[in-house]
């Protein structure tokens, strides 16, 4: 995980959906995928600026379900990695095992 701010100070982090653990939420910044693929994701609700919450996952954590724009969409790790998000708050949940 790359961080642009200091660890102790709550700030804006540059991260991907992969960094979210169950219950965490973040704001989508941009999608780092080719046009067609990004467009399909946008049609499913992954639009820049939207809040995304990480949900359950398949055993092993891959794929994971994300709650976005009223739907629940499952993405594989390799795709989740390409969705860059802003962690605008410190993590609230301690994270589940």
């Amino acid at each position: 995980m790359q961080m642009s701010g200091n660890k102790g100070r709550p700030g804006v982090f540059a991260a991907t959906l992969l960094d979210l653990r169950r219950g965490d939420a973040a704001t989508l910044d941009h999608i780092d995928l080719p046009g067609q693929d990004a467009r399909r994701l946008m049609e499913l609700g992954f639009l820049p600026g939207i809040r995304i919450t990480a949900g359950h996952s398949a055993p092993g954590g891959d794929p994971r379900v994300f709650q976005v724009d009223g739907s629940e969409i499952a993405l594989r790790r390799e795709t989740a990695r390409r969705l860059k998000v802003r962690l605008d708050k410190a993590r609230q949940s301690p994270g589940l095992p």
Binding site: Q36, G45, P59, T79
Partner: protein, 633 residues
């Protein structure tokens, strides 16, 4: 709220009823297209509107299925409804969306342009679903916006003013629950009306997704849309079904329970059907005078078709389970759990659903691979689907297992020896599929990365109506096959078994034309432990696997040596245990199904893939059977 049913006062939403005398009624029914995003409940509404009057075909020249049905209006007029594939937008990415786009814009020469569109959207997720309204309304075709799942919206505290929404969109809006039948009257009212074109409204730039979403959000909020709270029960159930430990456990229990039930619950029904055929066969034999016609009827048709029809309960039980899993929403969770495993052989979770339906029949399974956007993943799924144990193999397996394996308990009362053997055969087919997928995906069908996207629908109670319609449809298909392909094969076989006549009488089965063919084949299949009678069965089963039972039933019925024995006893007499296993293995691997070959040709656009597939599966079947016959004595 949904009570705003009579929107006649709302200006733009007004549905004007034109006086229409009997002479004004059009000669051919109006054509209406049913469009909507996936998971909007489009199919449920289609079933609700058309009931049993449905037809499934393919759009000519492409691989997309075309569902059409007739909806009868209260005044007796008929409307033809085309159920289009699910689409997220009108900018076509996949073949499905291309077809939907072309039908809606009237660009397909085989489908007349629809006079109206029924746009189905999920009212519990209006913000996102309303995005599709923009390109649809831009077409200028009369459109009814149907907000489905009204019951969910209400139960979860959501709210919407349909009058305001209708005014915003310039088109009539109906809040319905296709599952409960609520608000369906409004849909019929629209279909019976003059169907006004949408009033011009400002629409967003259609190719700009963020702009469309913004527009949809604005329209929603101006219609006082309050989204419902997240589905409480779906979250609760998912914390079990997607639990790291409980989830896979539930998955395994579901799969085992399905197979065990098929093998136990269906048996009394099958025994009943068998008894019915025996009694009626005897009655026919006793009623008709002794003639060549009676022989054809009793030995050919009755025993041939009867021995296949007996398996109808089993096929229906399987479709009952698949229907319940799909309609309840669990199937998507199963795809999620299966994704990692599928990824290991180079496939994806979406291949899981077609492969699971291939347990019922490879033909609909191959058709359902259309949901896989990646062409290489799709072809790989098509090529391995026939390895999954389809319901046509089930009767063959059941017969041979029952003939050669006593039903001892294996796992206490939970799993008998026969069910365990059956499960083993299912596993064998599955392993062959997995190994083949691995080979394909690491060689000729290697593909790059396409994002895997899977929408998780909310859990819902499956309705009796929807499951019932599906079962009715399956029963129709199964019986039609028994009544056409299998009937034809049994009759041809009967004729071949009665030629050439010896002294004006039928020859013994061994000297008949069929016997000659079987005996010519015998040297080839002898190493597998099969005799010429099985050989004839193998030939006829090329048409459809279950035909072998009818064939063997007919052959053993005609052969005086074995005709006193039942089919099971006759098989015990003719096959060694090794030969029986070889026959099972042969059926597990061989591609004995003309319908599948035809559908693969259509879906892959040529003969290359089906020929490759047929040869590969044939070699594997022969090799596997050979090994089984020599390893098991």
């Amino acid at each position: 709220m949904s009570e705003c049913g009579d929107c006649h006062g709302c200006g733009a939403a007004a549905v004007i009823e034109l006086p229409r005398g009997p002479e004004g009624a059009p000669a051919s029914p109006k054509i209406v297209a049913l469009a909507g995003p996936p998971n909007s409940g489009k199919t449920t509404l289609f079933n609700r509107l058309t009931g049993l009057r449905q037809k499934v075909a393919n759009f000519p020249g492409v691989t997309v299925e075309q569902h059409t049905g007739i909806a009868e209006l209260p005044d007796g007029r008929a409307v033809r409804i085309i159920d289009l594939p699910g689409l997220y937008s009108l900018s076509p990415h996949s073949e499905d969306e291309q077809i939907a786009h072309d039908v809606l814009t009237g660009q397909r020469p085989d489908t007349p342009p629809p006079e109206a569109i029924l746009l189905v959207l999920d009212s519990t997720n209006l913000g996102r679903h309303l995005m599709l309204a923009a390109p649809i309304l831009a077409l200028g075709v009369p459109t009814l916006i149907i907000l489905n799942m009204a019951d969910d919206l209400r139960n979860r505290g959501g709210h919407l003013d349909t009058c305001k929404l209708s005014a915003q969109l310039g088109a009539p809006v109906a809040l319905v629950s296709a599952r409960q039948g609520e608000g369906i009257g409004e849909v019929f009212e629209f279909l019976a009306s003059a169907m006004p074109a949408p009033a011009p409204r400002e629409l967003p730039v259609l190719h700009d997704v963020p702009k469309c979403r913004e527009w949809a959000g604005r329209v929603g909020s101006q219609a006082s849309y309050r989204p419902p709270v997240p589905p409480k029960w779906t979250r609760r159930l998912d914390s079990v079904f997607l639990h790291p430990v409980a989830g896979p456990l539930v998955f395994a229990v579901v799969v085992v329970a399905v197979f065990q039930t098929i093998f136990t619950a269906a048996v009394p029904l099958m025994d009943g059907l068998r008894w019915l055929f025996e009694v009626s066969g005897k009655w026919v034999a006793a009623t008709l005078p002794d003639s060549i016609f009676r022989s054809l009827l009793v030995e050919g048709v009755w025993s041939g078709v009867g021995s296949v029809v007996v398996f109808l309960p089993q096929v229906l039980f399987l479709f009952l389970f698949i229907g319940i899993l799909e309609d309840s929403g669990y199937l998507a969770r199963a795809a999620l759990i299966a994704d990692r495993t599928m990824a290991r052989v180079g496939l994806q979770g979406k291949s899981f659903i077609p492969l699971l339906s291939a347990y019922a029949c490879a033909v609909p399974a191959i058709l359902s691979t259309r949901t896989i956007e990646n062409k290489r993943d799709r072809f790989a799924t098509i090529l391995i689907a026939p390895f999954m144990t389809c319901s046509a193999r089930l009767p063959v397996y059941t017969l041979i297992i029952a003939a050669f394996l006593p039903n001892r308990p294996v796992l206490g009362p939970f799993l008998g020896a026969r069910a365990a053997a059956l499960l083993g055969l299912y596993l064998l087919g599955f392993l062959a599929a997995v190994a083949t997928a691995r080979v394909l995906k690491s060689s000729i069908l290697k593909s790059g990365h396409t994002p895997f996207l899977l929408e998780m629908p909310s859990y819902r109670w499956p309705t009796v109506r929807s499951i019932g319609l599906r079962l009715f449809d399956r029963a129709k298909v199964f019986l039609r096959r028994a009544g056409t392909v299998i009937l034809l094969v049994t009759v041809v076989l009967w004729i071949m078994a009665h030629l050439p006549p010896v002294n004006g009488k039928a020859p013994s089965i061994q000297d008949s034309l069929a016997g000659t063919v079987g005996r010519t084949l015998e040297p080839v299949i002898k190493p597998l432990g099969f005799n010429w009678k099985i050989g004839i069965g193998l030939i006829t089963s090329l048409a459809a696997r279950e035909t072998i039972i009818g064939t063997l039933g007919a052959i053993y019925g005609m052969d005086p040596e074995s005709h006193q024995l039942g089919l099971q006893k006759a098989l015990q007499h003719d096959l060694t245990p090794g030969g029986a296993v070889a026959l099972l293995v042969f059926f597990a691997f061989a591609m004995q199904c003309i319908s599948t070959i035809a559908v693969v040709r259509r879906e892959t656009g040529g003969w290359k893939w089906p020929i490759l597939q047929f040869t590969y599966m044939g070699v594997l079947a022969y090799g596997g059977a050979f090994a089984a016959a020599h390893l098991i004595r």
